[in-house]
C-alpha cells in the first residue's frame, strides 16, 4: 500500500488530467443539452487542432498564434459540422446523431493520418517550463491551468446559461426543441452558438491534453472516453456533477498507477465508474414493489 508521499505526485497529475476530462465533459453536456447531439468526435477535433498548431510552430509561426489557431479550429470545425449537419439530423433520434459524429471522427482520423503520417509530433506549452516545487512535487503551470481552467469554464458556462438570452434559449431547447421554436426562439442560431462554444472548449482541451498526455492521433481521439464517462455520470444534465466526475476519474486513474497490482487496470477507470453510476441510477429508478 503506497504511503501519502508516494501518492503525492499522482494526486497532482490526476487533478490536472481530471480537470481536462471535466472540461471536455462540460463541453459535451452543454452541446447535448442544446442540440441533443453527443459529439463523439470531440477528441479527434482537439487532436486535429493540436496538430495544426504543431504545423504552424514547425514552420516558424509565433507559438501563441499557433495555440489560438488550435482553439479556433476546435470552434470552427465543430461550428461547421453543426451548421451543415445539425439541421438535417435534428429530427432524428439521439443515437443516429451520435453515430453521425462517429463518422466525422473517422474522417478526421483518416485525414490526420494522411496529412501527418507516422512521424511522432509534440507540443510543449511555455507553461510546462514554468515549474514550482510544491511539497516535494514538481507542479507546472500547465497542470495548474488544467485544474483551474475547467472550474472557470464550468462556472462561466453555468452563469451564461442562467443569465443570458442565448443561454436561456439553450436551456429551453434542452427541454423541448419544438415548443422553443414555436415560441419564436431562433433555434438554428442558438444551436450554432452551442456548437461553436462547445468547439472552443474542445480546442482548449486538445491543446492542454496534447501537452499533458502527448500529441498522438489515436491517443487523443480516444480521450473523449473519460469525458464521455464524466458526462454520463452526470446523466448528461449537470455541469457541476460533470466537473466533479471528471476530477474523480482523473484522480482515481492516476492514483491507481502507484498500486502495482492495480496499475495495469487503471485505464478501465472511466468505464468502471460510468457503469457503476449507470447501474446506481437504474436502481434508483426501479419502482418500489410491495
Amino acid at each position: 500500500m503506497p504511503d501519502f508521499e508516494t501518492l503525492k505526485p499522482f494526486l497532482v497529475l490526476g487533478l490536472a488530467l481530471g480537470g481536462v476530462f471535466a472540461m471536455s465533459g462540460v463541453g459535451l453536456v452543454v452541446l447535448y443539452r442544446a442540440t441533443g447531439v453527443l459529439n463523439l468526435a470531440y477528441g479527434a477535433i482537439g487532436a486535429m487542432g493540436a496538430l495544426i498548431s504543431w504545423s504552424m510552430i514547425d514552420v516558424g509561426i509565433n507559438e501563441w498564434v499557433a495555440y489560438l489557431a488550435c482553439i479556433a479550429f476546435g470552434g470552427g470545425a465543430t461550428f461547421i459540422y453543426g451548421v451543415v449537419f445539425g439541421p438535417p439530423f435534428a429530427p432524428r433520434d439521439p443515437l443516429v446523431k451520435a453515430v453521425a459524429t462517429l463518422g466525422f471522427l473517422l474522417i478526421l482520423v483518416g485525414l490526420m493520418q494522411y496529412v501527418y503520417g507516422r512521424d511522432p509530433h509534440s507540443i510543449t506549452l511555455p507553461t510546462s517550463k514554468w515549474n514550482y516545487d510544491l511539497g516535494g512535487v514538481r507542479v507546472s503551470w500547465t497542470q495548474i491551468i488544467g485544474v483551474a481552467f475547467p472550474i472557470l469554464v464550468t462556472a462561466g458556462t453555468a452563469v451564461y446559461l442562467r443569465t443570458t438570452k442565448v443561454g436561456t434559449a439553450m436551456r429551453a431547447l434542452a427541454n423541448d426543441r419544438e415548443i422553443t421554436a414555436m415560441l419564436g426562439v431562433p433555434v438554428r442560431r442558438v444551436e450554432a452558438a452551442a456548437w461553436f462554444g462547445s468547439g472552443l472548449v474542445c480546442g482548449m482541451a486538445g491543446l492542454l491534453l496534447s501537452n499533458l498526455v502527448g500529441l498522438d492521433i489515436i491517443g487523443l481521439t480516444f480521450l473523449v472516453i473519460p469525458a464521455l464517462a464524466a458526462a454520463l455520470i452526470a446523466q448528461l444534465r449537470s455541469l457541476w456533477v460533470t466537473l466533479v466526475a471528471g476530477f474523480v476519474i482523473g484522480l482515481v486513474q492516476s492514483c491507481l498507477t502507484a498500486f502495482s497490482d492495480l496499475a495495469e487496470y487503471r485505464t478501465m477507470t472511466p468505464f468502471v465508474l460510468a457503469i457503476v453510476a449507470l447501474l446506481w441510477f437504474a436502481r434508483q429508478r426501479e419502482p418500489v414493489r410491495t
Binding site: T6, P9, F10, L13, G14, L17, Y32, G36, L38, L40, D93, P94, L95, A98, V99, L102, G117, R118, D119, P120, H121, S122, T124, S128, N131, R138, S140, T142, L212, V213, G214, L215, D216, I218, G219, F222, L223, V224, I225, L228, A229, A231, L232, Q235, L236, Q253, S254, T257, A258, S260, A263, E264, R266, T267, M268, P270, F271, A274, L278
Partner: protein, 467 residues
Amino acid sequence: MKRSLVAMAAASALIVAACGGDNSSSSSATTAAAGATTAAAATTTGGSATTASGASTTAGGAASGGSNLQAAGKCGAGTGQKATGDPIKLGGIATNVPGIDFTWITGMTKAYFDCVNDNGGINGRPIQYIAETEQVDPQQIAALATKLIEQDKVLGLVGNTSIIDCSVNKDLYAKQGMFLIIAGVDQACFTNPNYSAVNMGPYYSSLGGAQAAVRAGAKGKIVIVGPNQPGFELINSGVIDFAKQNGMEGISLSEDTPINDPAGLAQKLVQDAGEGGGVVLDFTGPAVLPLLQAIEQQGLVDKVVWASSTPPNDPSVAKELSSAWNGKFLINAEFNVLDSGKPDQNHMNEIRGKYRSDIPSSSFAQMGYLAGRVATDALMGIKGDITKDSVNAAFKAVKNFTSDLWCKPWYFDSTVGQNVSNNNDITVVPKDGNMVQEEDCFAIAELAANPLKDIRAKEASLGLNAG
C-alpha cells in the same frame, strides 16, 4: 427513451474504444552498427563495452565487400532497365494496429524490390511482392500465411514483421519448407530454424539497453517496461535475468499503447527504479515520445538512467526532444545511425526517397531495406530454375552478407536451431536534435536463458559472423 438511446450510444462508444485502444505494440529492434571493428566485450556483465562518445562508426565490411553480389549503392544488377519477364512472387506479413505499425518494414522491402525491378530484376524477371497486413489475430494471420503460400503461390517470404506470426505459423512454414528472412518481434522468431531476422528483436535489444544503462552507472534496480502485448513477459525476461546476474533487482512492467497517462507512468517508473536505478523502455518512437516529454516536464531525466531498445533510434524522435535529453537516453541500436553517410545507409535513404518517402527514416525502414537486399542477393545467386525449393535453399544458405548497417556480417543459419545472427550492437543517444553514436559495437549479453553462448561458439567454428 431519448436518454436511454444516448446511453446506449455512449456505451457502444466505450466498448469500441475498449476493444480498439489497447493494442500493443512493439518494439523491435534494430540496430546498427558500425563497423565491425570493435566487438567489445560486454558479454554478461555489461561492464566492458567500448564507450566512444561521439565516435563515428567504423564502416564494417560495407556493402561492397564480402560475398555480396550486389554492388554498393545498386539494387540487384543495377542495369537501369525495367525487368519484364515472368514475375517471381514473394510475400510478407506485417502487423498494423493502433500504436504499432510494422508495415513500414514490408513497405520498405517492397520499395527495395521496386528498385530491383527498375534495375533489371533477377535476370530480367521482376519480383512481385505481396504484402499483407494483420491485426494480431491468430486466425487471420494463419489464413494470410496459407493464402500467400497456397493461393498466391509465393516462392518465399521476406520482411515478415508481426507480433504473432512466428508463434502461430511456425509449423506451417516448417511443413512447407519455407525459410523466412524477417524482422523479428516475437521471441519465437529467434528460437526456430525456419526464421532468421535481420534485427535482433526486443528481447535482445532491451537487453542491450540494460547493458548500456549498467555501464552508465545504473545501480540497485532495473525496470523494463514494454507494450502490453502477447509475450511481453518473455521479452522483458532478458533484462530481469541480466539484472539478477549483476546483483540487481529486475522489475518487469507492461503498458497499454498509446500510453494515455505518460506522466503517471513516468512517476511510477522512477519510483520503482529508485534513485540512480535504470529504466529500459521498449516502445516504438511515436509511443515513447510522450513518455520522454512527461519525464522531462516532471524533472525526472536525471533521477535514473534511461535506456531503450532500438525503435526510438529515429531522427524524428531526436528532433522532438529538447537538449535536456542530450546524451541521457541510451538507445540500443541494432543498426547504424541513419545519417552515417555509409554506402548502404545512403542507398537506403535514396530508395526511401524515390519509392516510399511516406515511410519515416527509421530503424524500421532499415529492417525493410536489409530484408529486401539480402533476399535479392540470395535470388541473384540461384543457379538454375527459380522455384520455391531453390529460393528457400538460397535464403537458408546466406552467409556473411555484409552491410554498413550492421556491426558484423549477417548469415541465415547458425545450425544450433536458433538464429540470432545480429547479436552485436551500438548505443546511440539524442543530441541537439540528432541521434549520435555513444558506444561502439558491443556483444549482447550471454545469459543462461538465451542461446548466444552456443551461437557464438558455432559462429566461431563455422566462420560465421566474421569480419
